[in-house]
């Protein structure tokens, strides 16, 4: 049974302080988004970086939402890193449009450009 899937969205960031708009589609075989997590190659890229995100035309994170709130350090196991939506909060998947705008925080010490931001979606189907 197709109950859970982890979908990854990649966003390429070319220069410091760049704003990148992106769009994607959730896997149509899964009905809802259960959680979200973000990673970058260098943890320091999270300094000041923000992610505005909409799924199925619903605001998930507003303009100015910092990516560090969507990530953890490496001491957490991957399954502990997701921001999880509660049962009464339905974020529709099933082929929903994802629209995002990522802005790099402009911190450059030790950071190589370009780099790739990964956004992970935990998708679920109800049993």
């Amino acid at each position: 049974m197709k109950l859970t899937k982890y979908q990854m969205i990649k966003v390429k960031v070319e220069t410091p302080a760049q704003t990148v708009k992106f769009s994607a589609v959730t896997d149509k075989l899964y009905s809802r988004v259960d959680g979200i997590y973000v990673s970058m190659p260098n943890d320091n890229s999270h300094f000041g970086s923000t992610l505005e995100l909409r799924i199925a035309e619903e605001e998930i994170f507003p303009d100015g939402f910092e990516t560090k709130l969507l990530a953890t350090d490496q001491s957490s196991s991957p399954n502990e890193r997701f921001l999880i939506f509660e049962n009464d909060e339905i974020v529709e998947a099933a082929g929903s449009l994802i629209e995002g705008r990522f802005t790099d925080g402009g911190f450059t010490d030790g950071i190589s450009f370009p780099y790739t931001l990964n956004i992970y979606l935990k998708l679920k189907n109800s049993k």
């Binding site: 000041g48 619903e58 939402f65 560090k68 709130l69 953890t72 925080g105």
Partner: protein, 130 residues
């Protein structure tokens, strides 16, 4: 059905011991607030963590309830083991105000003791009617 909504309050601190008042109207569809998180945005050249860079006091429902008065810290690394909002459980009156203050502690200094201006972001994790 409810949806999660984050409300962001941005505060700029330009001098030591500055106090900034908070006064913001919430949209009418917000029904409750379940978490608060306050943190410094970006990187400061402090060269160290600061346990107490300031303190935040938040009142809901136009000043009728006072769920949080707490210190704010600065971490020299952007990520932590987990990013947890401080959990609260407050019902919100329709179109009520969030008020309170942020007070700088005067500890945001570089290695020479010079004060570093910074920005604090206060996140309210809320539920809203869809």
């Amino acid at each position: 059905m409810n949806v999660r909504r984050f409300v962001i309050l941005s505060i700029k601190i330009s001098r030591a011991h500055q106090i900034v008042a908070i006064d913001k109207s919430l949209s009418a569809n917000i029904v409750s607030c379940t978490g608060i998180h306050a943190d410094v945005k970006g990187h400061l050249q402090t060269g160290r963590d600061i346990q107490h860079i300031g303190e935040v006091s938040i009142l809901f429902n136009s000043g009728r309830v006072h769920p949080l008065h707490h210190s704010v810290g600065y971490h020299d690394k952007p990520l932590q083991k987990c990013n947890r909002f401080m959990q609260i459980q407050e019902r919100m009156f329709s179109a009520s105000k969030v008020c309170g203050f942020y007070q700088d502690a005067g500890t945001a200094t570089d290695e020479k003791g010079i004060f570093l201006p910074y920005q604090v972001i206060i996140y309210l994790e809320c539920k809203a009617k869809k």
